[in-house]
């Protein structure tokens, strides 16, 4: 499932709520879940960040996320996946993104979750604009590769 949130969300509560509907279909089969939660820090590239605005391209965002999940499901034997991404105005410690993946085996769960996160960061049309300490704004110009460091 894919969800775009315009207000704060609690990632672990979302997973619990999602698992209730999911329960029947995964019963007995799910051996492994891997979950990634990305949170807003109060620093970036050496500067204090007070807040952020997350812009996106409604419609294309969902379409590209569907492509990413379909690609992951082709590469690994997944039972289910859930992606929630925040948009709009966010502040330090707000959750920005949740990716959860369910599989029979842990290797697939880890690999697929990470793949989805990297693909999301490089392909899905979200853009971050940071509000610095002095009130100045700057667009984040690129995402780093999460497979290194």
């Amino acid at each position: 499932m894919i969800k775009i949130c315009t207000s704060a969300f609690e990632p672990y509560k979302e997973i619990e709520a999602y698992q209730i509907q999911q329960k029947k279909s995964l019963a007995g089969k799910q051996g492994a879940a891997n979950v990634f939660v990305g949170t807003m820090r109060d620093f970036n590239e050496g500067e204090e960040v007070k807040g952020m605005t997350l812009e996106h391209y409604p419609g294309m965002t969902e379409k590209q996320l569907q492509h990413v999940l379909a690609e992951a499901a082709e590469q690994w034997p997944l039972l289910d996946s859930l992606v929630i991404h925040r948009v709009g105005d966010v502040f330090p410690d707000d959750v920005l993104v949740l990716v959860a993946v369910w599989s029979a085996h842990r290797g697939a769960a880890f690999d697929a979750c990470r793949f989805i996160m990297e693909a999301l960061k490089s392909k899905v049309p979200f853009w971050k604009k940071e509000i610095l300490k002095d009130g100045e704004c700057r667009w984040v110009d690129k995402n780093t590769d999460g497979y290194v460091g």
Binding site: G38, L54, E55, H56, Y57, G59, M60, K63, Q64, H85, L96, V97, M117, L120, K121, S122, K123, V124, P125, F126, W127, K128, K129, W139, V140, D141, K142, N143
Partner: protein, 77 residues
């Protein structure tokens, strides 16, 4: 006979508008649309383009009534 053009993020601020319309001419590419609408602005090297919400290269042909979007590298997650 026109194409709907959208700009996002820093590119939207640079251009000063979020949307535009471009008269459709048979055989025109993504790059041609930019040239026609923004003849005085050089295209940023790392620009991305999408037609109807799917990524395309800059030499892709556009069709009448397409939604063409230009935007900078994505920075979500």
């Amino acid at each position: 006979m026109s194409i709907k053009v959208r700009y996002f993020a820093s590119l939207k601020e640079l251009i000063g508008q979020a949307t535009d319309d471009c008269e459709f001419v048979s055989g025109m590419t993504v790059q041609d649309v930019w040239q026609k609408l923004l003849p005085e602005k050089s295209m940023p090297a790392n620009i991305l383009a999408a037609i109807n919400m799917e990524y395309v290269s800059l030499d892709t042909l556009v069709k009448d009534a397409d939604e063409l979007a230009f935007f900078p590298p994505v920075t979500g997650g």
